[in-house]
Amino acid sequence: MTAPFLRVRNMSHDFGGLRAVRDYNLEAGSGQIRGLIGPNGAGKTTIFNLITGIYQPTEGEILIDGRNINGLPSHRIASLGVSRTFQNLLLWRHMTVIEHVKLAHYSKIRYGLFAAFFGTPGYHREEAEIEEKAGRLLDMMGIRHLADQVVLNLPYGAQRRVEMARALATEPRILLLDEPTAGMNPEELAQIMEIIRRVHGELGLSILLIEHRMKVVMELCSIIQTLDFGAVIAEGTPEEIQNDPRVIDAYLGKERAT
C-alpha cells in the first residue's frame, strides 16, 4: 500500500466563532499506533468526530483510500473501515454483550428485509455466522462468559471491552480509541494495554489513540501528535515529545516565562 489509508489535509473546524481545530494534518493507517495528546479542550475528540463523520469539517478534506469522504454519513465512513470507541462509553443500555458485537456486523449483512421478516434459511445461516464471528471477538476480549448479560449490569472495565469488541466487529482498517483507559484502576489498565497490543499485533490494525496517561502513550505509540488550542504544536517519537519544551508548556503552563 503506497498511500496511507487515512489522510487528513488542512482540516479546520469552527464551533460558531471558536476555531476548535486549526489546520490539522494526519497520515495514518500504515499499521502504526499513533498517539494524540493534549490538554483538556485541545480538540482531540473533535478530530475523531470529524474523521468519523459526526461533524463536517469547515475547511480541508479527509481522504480514505484516496477518496474524499467529506459529507458522507457516519455509517458509510464506518463501513469503509474507520471504527472508534467513545470517551464516555456510548453503549446501548438495553442490549446484551453479544448483541452489541453482532450489530456491528450490520454493514456486512447480505440477507434482505424479506428474509428478516420471514426467517428464511439464508437468514438463519447468516445470523449463525455473525454469532460465531462475534463469539470469537468476545473470546479475544476475554468476555465470552458475559455474552448474554445486559451491558448496564457490567463493571466498567468489562464495558470498555464490550466497546472495543464492538468497534472491532465492524472489521476496521483503522481504529480510533478515545481515552480507552479513562477511569480504570492499575490492574484494568494493564489488561487494556495488553488488549490494545494484541489487537495491533494479531489483526495488524492501525490505531489512533487519544490518551491522557503518559505511561500508556509512551509505551504504546510510535508517533505522537500534541495538540493545544486546536493546533498541532509538536509531532514526533515518544522521546522527542517528552523532551519538547512546547509540550511541557502546554501541559504545565509557561513556567519559564514567569
Binding site: 446501548w92 453482532k102 450489530l103 428478516a116 421478516f117
Partner: protein, 435 residues
C-alpha cells in the same frame, strides 16, 4: 389465558410453594391441553351448570359483566369460573404434566414448523370452542386479535425504536378503507360502486390481496410521515404523525365516493375467526422475526444511542424508515380486518380515542416486548368489555389502572422480554423435585 391456578396458589399459603413448583413444570403444551379440556367442558356442561347456579345464561366474559350488574350473583359467577375453567385446567395440567413433557420433548426434536403448528392448532381449537358459545364472544375475540396486531405494530415504533408515533389509527383507516373499497367494489352489488364485478366465490380468496394491498397503501402513506420526520431525532415524529392522523381523517370525511362521514358499509363477511387468527399469527411471527434479527436490533441501538449506532455502520435513517413502514403495513392489514369484522367503517372510528386506546395497550403491556403487546392488547380489550356495565366509570377505572402501572412498572407489565419460540415450546424437566 386462564392462569387461575396461580391465584389459587397465592390464597392457600402453606400449599403455595407446592402449587408453584408443580405448575412451573407444566410445558406450554400442557397448559393448552388443560384449557382445551376446560372449554370443551364448558361447551358440554356450561349451560346446565349456569342454570343450576342461578345464572340465566353462561357468563360470556368470565362472569365479570354479571358480577357488576347483579352483585348478588357474585358467588355463583365465581363458582362457575372455578368449576368450568380453573379446576379442570388445574387438574388436567397436573395429571398430564409428565405426559405433556414427554410429548413436547418428542415434538421439539422434529423440524420447528411441526411443534409450532401443533401448538397453534391447539390454541386455535381452544379459542374456537370458547368463542363458539356466543356471537358476542366471537366478536370480542376477533377485535382482541386485531388489537394485538395494532398494538404490536405500534410497539415496533414506540417501544423498539423509541420514537413516539401517533398516526397508527390513520394507517388503520387507510387499510380499512382500501380493503373495503376493494371488496365492496368487486364482490358486492352496491349503489355507489355498481354491480358485482367478479364472481362472489372468488371473494374469500382475493381477500388477502385486498388486505396486503391495503397494508402497502398504508405504508405508502407512512412514507409521507417518515421522510420529513426521520431527518433528526426528537419530537418531530409525534407532531407530524398527529397531523397525519387528522389529515387522513378529514380526507376520508370529505371523499364522497366512500360516503364521507356517513361511513362505508356492506363489507362481505370475510373476516371470520380463523382468518383473523391466521393473520394475527402471521403478524406476530413476522414482527417477532424482525425484531430479533440483527437488522431489527438496529432499532434498539438507534433508540439507545443513535450516534454509536452510526459509528458501528448502522444506517440509522434507513432503519427507522423501514421499521416505520413495516409497522404501518401491519396497521393497514389490521384496519382491513377491522372493517370486515364490523362490516362498517366510518372516519370517526379512527380518531384520537382510538389512538389513546392503542397507546394505552402498548404502554400498559410493556415496551420492547411481543409478550407485552399481547398482554396489553388482550387485557385492555377484555377490561373494556368486562367493565361495560359501569358505563362512564369504565373511563375512570382503566386510566387509573394505567397510572398505577406507570408508577410501579414504568415500562409496562412485561417490558424488554424476547419471545423465543423455541424456548417457549421446550418441555420443562430440569426444575427441582417436589418434596
Amino acid at each position: 389465558m386462564e392462569r387461575g391456578s396461580g391465584a389459587r396458589g397465592e390464597r392457600v399459603r402453606p400449599a403455595g410453594r407446592y402449587f408453584r413448583t408443580t405448575f412451573s413444570r407444566v410445558p406450554l403444551l400442557g397448559w393448552l391441553a388443560g384449557i382445551l379440556i376446560a372449554v370443551t367442558l364448558e361447551r358440554l356442561a356450561g349451560p346446565p351448570l349456569a342454570l343450576a347456579l342461578g345464572l340465566q345464561k353462561v357468563p360470556v366474559l368470565f362472569g365479570f359483566v354479571i358480577m357488576l350488574k347483579k352483585p348478588a350473583l357474585i358467588p355463583s359467577a365465581v363458582l362457575y369460573v372455578l368449576l368450568i375453567y380453573v379446576v379442570p385446567t388445574a387438574v388436567v395440567t397436573r395429571l398430564s404434566t409428565s405426559a405433556a413433557n414427554r410429548l413436547a420433548g418428542r415434538l421439539v426434536r422434529l423440524p420447528m414448523a411441526i411443534p409450532v403448528a401443533v401448538h397453534l392448532a391447539l390454541l386455535y381449537a381452544a379459542l374456537h370452542l370458547w368463542a363458539g358459545i356466543s356471537d358476542y364472544r366471537v366478536l370480542v375475540l376477533r377485535l382482541t386479535l386485531i388489537a394485538v396486531m395494532v398494538t404490536l405494530s405500534l410497539n415496533v415504533i414506540n417501544g423498539y425504536m423509541g420514537e413516539f408515533s401517533c398516526s397508527h389509527p390513520g394507517f388503520m383507516a387507510i387499510g380499512a378503507y382500501f380493503a373495503s373499497v376493494f371488496t365492496v367494489g368487486l364482490f358486492v352489488n352496491d349503489q355507489f360502486f355498481g354491480a358485482v364485478f367478479l364472481p362472489q366465490a372468488w371473494g374469500p380468496f382475493l381477500f388477502p390481496v385486498a388486505l396486503i394491498l391495503g397494508g402497502f397503501v398504508a405504508s405508502f402513506g407512512a412514507l409521507a410521515v417518515a421522510i420529513p420526520s426521520f431527518r433528526t431525532r426528537g419530537d418531530y415524529l409525534a407532531i407530524i404523525s398527529l397531523a397525519f392522523l387528522f389529515i387522513v381523517k378529514s380526507l376520508i370525511e370529505n371523499l364522497e365516493f366512500v360516503r364521507g362521514p356517513r361511513g362505508l358499509s356492506g363489507q362481505p363477511d370475510y373476516a371470520d375467526l380463523p382468518t383473523v387468527f391466521l393473520w394475527t399469527v402471521l403478524c406476530v411471527w413476522s414482527i417477532n422475526n424482525f425484531v430479533r434479527s440483527t437488522v431489527g436490533k438496529a432499532l434498539n441501538a438507534v433508540r439507545d444511542n443513535e450516534m454509536a449506532a452510526g459509528a458501528m455502520t448502522v444506517d440509522t435513517r434507513r432503519t427507522k424508515i423501514v421499521a416505520f413502514l413495516f409497522a404501518a403495513f401491519w396497521a393497514g392489514v389490521a384496519g382491513g380486518l377491522f372493517a370486515h369484522v364490523l362490516r362498517y367503517v366510518n372516519p370517526s372510528t379512527f380518531g384520537i380515542q382510538k389512538l389513546a386506546e392503542v397507546l394505552a395497550m402498548v404502554y400498559f403491556g410493556g415496551l420492547n416486548s411481543v409478550y407485552g403487546s399481547i398482554v396489553g392488547a388482550v387485557s385492555i380489550s377484555l377490561l373494556g368489555e368486562a367493565l361495560r356495565p359501569l358505563e362512564i366509570f369504565k373511563w375512570i377505572i382503566i386510566p387509573l389502572l394505567l397510572i398505577l402501572v406507570m408508577i410501579y412498572r414504568p415500562t409496562g407489565l412485561v417490558a424488554f422480554k424476547d419471545l423465543d419460540v423455541t424456548a417457549l415450546l421446550q418441555p420443562k424437566r430440569n426444575t427441582e423435585e417436589e418434596a
